[in-house]
Symmetry: none
Subunit: 233 residues, 2 copies
DNA sequence: TTCCGAGATGATTATGGCTCATAATCAGCA
DNA sequence: TGCTGATTATGAGCCATAATCATCTCGGAA
C-alpha cells in the first residue's frame, strides 16, 4: 500500500535478508527436523542462493541456534504478558503454568530441538541466556510470594523452579505420548502441590514439631539477627 | 585361562559380534554425539568392516536406538535393585530418587540421546517399552503406598510420576549447568514435597485463613526474606 | 562513462551414510 | 578330508548434502 519507494539503507537490507533467512529456516526446521532440513531448501524459501546463507550464519548449527534463540525470546515475552494481569502470586503461578504447558505442547518440536542443540555446539554458553530469561519469569513470581509472606522464606528458589518447569515439561511429554492435549488438572495439581509444600507456617513433616514454649524467645533472637544484618548494609 | 577352545557356533558368533558392535557404538556415540559419530569409526572399534554393521543394524538411527534401549534395560534392573531393600514406600521413594538423580547426572549424555531419538524414528513406538518399564518402578512403590493407606487413595498416579521424574530430570540439568554434581537436598526436598501433598487426610491449604497467632512469626519471615534480597544486591 | 569493491552466486569440493558385487567362511555330506 | 551351496563379511564406490571459493553483479564515487 505504501506508494513510497522504501529507502532501504545497506544496513536495513542486511536486516531484511537476515530475517528472511531466519523465517525460512524456522519453517523448514520445524517441518523437517534438524537433519531433515536441507540448506538448499532454506535458501530457496528465503529467495537467495545457497552460498549466501553462509555469509549470515557460519554453519547449519549456528543457524538453528539463532532460530531457537529467537523462539525463546518471543516465548518469554508471551509468558510475561500472560502473567502480568495477576497480582496474587499463586494466581500468577497458575497462569504461568497454564501458559507453559500449553506452549510446550504446541511447540513441542522447537523445544525438542533446543534440547538437542547444546550438545552440538562447542561453546556451552549456547542458549543459556535465552533460557535463563524465560525461566526467571517464574523466579520473579516466587520472589513476590516470598516478600508477601505467602511462601516460606527459607525455601530454595531454584529447587521450586526445577519442580515447576521439570514437572510441566515431563507432563507435556507424557500427555502427547498418550495422544492427549492440554489438561487443566495437571496445572491445578502442580500449583496445589507447590502451595502445600511452600506455604509458610506449615512445618515440613521432616523436622519435629516446634516447642510452643520456645516461640517468644526464638522470635526475638531472629528479630535481633535480622536487625543486625540490616545495620551492616 | 580356559585352555579349551571355545566352541563357537554360528549363532554364538553372531551374538558376540552384535555385542561388539553395540559396545563400540555406545562408546563412540557417547564421545561424539549422534551426528559426530562416524559409522567407519564404530566399525573400526568393533573390529569389522563398515558394511558389516548394516547386516546387524539397518541404519545408524536403528543402531543408536539399540544402544539406548540396552542402556534403559540395564538402568531398570539397577533401579529395582536400589529399591528392593526398602519396605517403607517413602524410604523406597527416597532411594529411587537418589538413584535416578545420580544416574541422570552420570549418564547425562546417553539420556540426552534418548530424548533426541524419538523424533528421528518413523515408528513412534521407539523406546516406549524400555522407558515404560523403567518408569513403572516408581508406579509400584506408589501403589504400595496407596495400598497401605500412606497415600490418598484418589491421587492420580501418573501425575505424581510426572512430578517425580520431571523434577529430578530438570534438577539434574540445572545442577550440571551450574557445574555441581549430586545434591542430597534436591532429593529430600522432592520427597517431602510429594509426601506433603499425597499424605492422606492432609487437606491441602488451598486458602487457609492465616491463624492470627502466627502473625509475629510470619512478619519475621517476611522481614528475613526482604533483608536477604537486599543483601544480594 | 569508467572503475571499484562489498556482497551475492552456484558450480565445485569434502564428507559420511549406505549399497552391492565380490570374496571369505562355514556346516553338512560323502 | 575334500567338495559344495549357503551364509556372512568386505570395502570400493554411489549419492545426498554441508560448506567453500572463484567468479560475477551492481550501486555509487570519480
Amino acid at each position: 500500500m505504501s506508494r513510497q519507494r522504501p529507502p532501504l539503507t545497506r544496513r536495513e537490507k542486511v536486516e531484511v535478508r537476515e530475517q528472511a533467512i531466519l523465517d525460512a529456516a524456522r519453517d523448514v526446521f520445524i517441518e523437517q527436523g534438524y537433519d531433515g532440513a536441507r540448506m538448499a531448501e532454506i535458501a530457496h524459501k528465503a529467495g537467495i542462493a545457497e552460498g549466501t546463507i553462509y555469509l549470515y550464519y557460519r554453519t547449519k548449527t549456528v543457524l538453528m541456534r539463532a532460530v531457537v534463540g529467537a523462539f525463546w525470546i518471543r516465548l518469554t515475552a508471551d509468558a510475561e504478558a500472560a502473567v502480568r494481569p495477576h497480582d496474587c502470586p499463586f494466581e500468577a503461578l497458575q497462569a504461568l503454568a497454564r501458559f507453559h504447558l500449553q506452549a510446550v505442547i504446541e511447540r513441542f518440536d522447537v523445544i525438542g530441538l533446543s534440547q538437542a542443540l547444546p550438545a552440538k555446539l562447542d561453546e556451552p554458553t549456547a542458549l543459556r541466556g535465552e533460557l535463563r530469561s524465560y525461566v526467571s519469569v517464574f523466579d520473579q513470581i516466587f520472589q513476590r510470594g516470598r516478600d508477601r509472606g505467602l511462601i516460606r522464606p527459607n525455601a530454595a528458589l531454584w529447587m521450586a523452579r526445577d519442580v515447576f518447569y521439570g514437572s510441566l515439561e515431563y507432563s507435556a511429554r507424557t500427555l502427547m505420548q498418550r495422544g492427549e492435549t492440554y489438561d487443566a488438572d495437571v496445572v491445578d495439581n502442580l500449583v496445589r502441590l507447590i502451595r502445600a509444600h511452600y506455604a509458610p507456617g506449615t512445618v515440613s513433616p521432616q523436622a519435629g514439631p516446634p516447642d510452643p514454649a520456645d516461640a517468644p524467645s526464638l522470635l526475638i533472637d531472629r528479630l535481633e539477627a535480622v536487625v543486625t544484618r540490616l545495620e551492616q548494609l
